[in-house]
Symmetry: C2
Subunit: 380 residues, 2 copies
């Protein structure tokens, strides 16, 4: 059972803190990490964070000399970085008061929050039912562009969850919505796709013409003397999503469209790794986007997390301030950053890739609250 | 005929300067570009340079109010950036005094300096003969890793030039030499190659074991539930060179080796574009390197231009100061930068991709001298 009060400690160093954490789990409701200058010989060990990468050092160590009561810091106030550079990580303890009273829209990351691979996370259906019973609107956001929203509905249904396509924000949809917001169709141009069927299906729904995608799977340009890759001069945008059939033909096609014809370079996301299977971390869309950035030297417009597109859309649709939106995710570098960068609240769930140790080992991305899973959103 | 004196003008703006330049070619021996703050509403138009990219604005405009005589600046001194932020571009006029007296080793870029595609540039054989008759050592450097040095000897021979493999520095050789300098063989590890036969041949010469390369051309990992891409745990380095058969299998193989097994990420070069054919600019090794950087979030060790490896090697081999080495190339962002960043002299030839207008339109990379072609190295 959790203790009703908070313990504040200086969290730093490794591995002594792991032992401490196991011995005294009741103090883990709040963690404080002093921001230290890196590599400058500070008396505290420097805090390390490797965004989008494995954290190589853990930092969790309570120092008895720096312990004080958290009540002095206002109890249920969200996690913060204080003026003296101290990061405060706060566990969600009173969901009604701390979160639900002030939130009307929840934006849930899927993998690591709703499901893990092909398995539903315990307590999710009841939590979603509870939130909806309070009149909260729930949306589901994923950077995976290989499926369309219709494709995701099937996945939700197979897990016993009732979700409509309108409640799903896949980055494939985000790419199509972005083009629609720019009135792309009116240009008479078409889209060249590096990516899979999800992007095609979403563009089809908006009747935006497209070429490339899975059809270019096995193509190879002719590269003999005098050869060139002829591209459709009507390509006005290149959308780059995860593509397990990425090849040199696609790279050169995108390169010519962007460099020579001024097509806009749009990335569904730039995630370094993705979870194609549970057995391994797989090279993500950062691979394909990095390739096109590498040859064109052009920075893409990113439409998935952590770009503001989806949050702007929801704030506008429901005419609410962004502070009434809460992003819920299991990753600091996409989910929490996505929320914090765009003016929403952000809750980190420890049900996915981020451990408590990893959370405390960095001070660059600070969620408003952290919790074990979204089951903690219900009253106990 | 060129005038024996120099004209100094403020070069900026577009397109009036193009007219001026055509009308008064005799003043083109020296160009001066004032360094201006970009985008800050300066009264001069900002100077623009897009390294590794097409320059979208040209900047060549003589302003009569800012004209002065170049003799005040010391005549044959190399091009410089002066203390007040003025870039001085100086044409090579007296090769013996300005260049040959102080240079013992020449490091020539190939494409755009020695040949253009499959055609020898006029005057090259005579110039190389002349330099060798003076006891100068000539080396030929290329970032193209698809051929080994043996492969390049064939190309030189086919153009009627006599060059030995030891005089050639391809980035495929640079990768092998780098591994040799680190005593990689002693680790008992092997190299995973993304790239073509040039890298394989160079590693073979040094008896460094390798896998991947062309053999992985058509491979695709299994990505069903529970699948993972098993990699050879003995891979200690991943060498990434230009690979027209790049695919997702290779990206994921490199990703796992680098992320999970700590293999070193080595790039032969990061050129955005390459000249596979004369008809088009093709996506270069920046594509493959960008892809692996994008999924691993690791920065590569770059062994080709503009890294210092080859220059260090030559300075050490001949026991000469780097100031006695001169890099000769047709690109600002690789060749000239390669020299200037590493303490050598650098001459830009206008016989390749860089025009005089492009040279003058930037102030970030300043060659010691510029000339039409290496024929200008001979006395007139």
């Amino acid at each position: 059972m959790r203790q009703p009060f908070c313990f504040v400690g200086i969290l730093n160093g490794c591995p002594r803190g792991e032992l401490t954490a196991r011995r005294a789990p009741w103090y883990r409701n709040v963690g404080v990490l002093r921001s230290t200058q890196r590599g400058k010989g500070n008396s505290l060990l420097p805090a390390h964070v490797a965004l989008n990468d494995k954290v190589r050092r853990c930092s969790l160590q309570a120092r008895s000399t720096d312990v004080s009561s958290s009540t002095a810091m206002g109890g249920s106030a969200p996690s913060t970085m204080t003026e003296n550079g101290t990061a405060v990580f706060r566990r969600l303890l009173d969901p009604q008061r701390e979160l639900l009273n002030s939130t009307s829209v929840f934006l849930f990351d899927c993998d690591g929050v709703i499901w893990l691979g092909d398995k539903l996370i315990q307590g999710v259906p009841e939590t979603l039912d509870y939130l909806r019973s309070l009149g909260k609107r729930c949306f589901f956001v994923t950077n995976n562009s290989t499926k369309s929203r219709a494709g995701y509905v099937k996945k939700f249904t197979s897990l016993g969850l009732k979700v409509s396509p309108e409640e799903i924000f896949s980055s494939s949809f985000a790419a199509a919505a972005y083009l629609e917001s720019k009135n792309f169709k009116a240009t008479g141009k078409k889209v060249y796709i590096i990516g899979e069927v999800g992007i095609e299906e979403e563009l089809d729904l908006l009747k935006i013409p497209h070429i490339g995608g899975p059809a270019d799977k096995d193509k190879q340009p002719r590269m003999g003397p005098g050869d060139k890759l002829e591209v459709d001069p009507d390509v006005g945008a290149v959308v780059v999503g995860f593509d397990r059939y990425f090849n040199y033909y696609k790279a050169q096609y995108a390169n010519v469209c962007i460099r020579e014809h001024g097509a806009e370079f749009i990335a569904t996301n730039t995630d370094a790794v993705t979870h194609l299977t549970d057995a391994q971390e797989w090279a993500g869309n950062g691979t394909m986007v990095g390739a096109i950035r590498g040859c064109t030297q052009v920075e893409p417009t990113v439409v998935g997390k952590p770009s503001p597109l989806m949050i702007d859309y929801l704030a506008n649709k429901f005419q609410i301030p962004k502070s009434e939106i809460c992003v819920v995710g299991d990753r600091l570098d996409t989910d929490v950053l996505f929320g914090k960068r765009n003016g929403t609240r952000a809750v980190l769930c420890l049900s996915g890739v981020t451990t408590e140790e990893r959370l405390f080992s960095q001070n660059e991305v600070i969620p408003d609250y952290f919790c074990d899973s979204i089951s903690d959103f219900k009253p106990r």
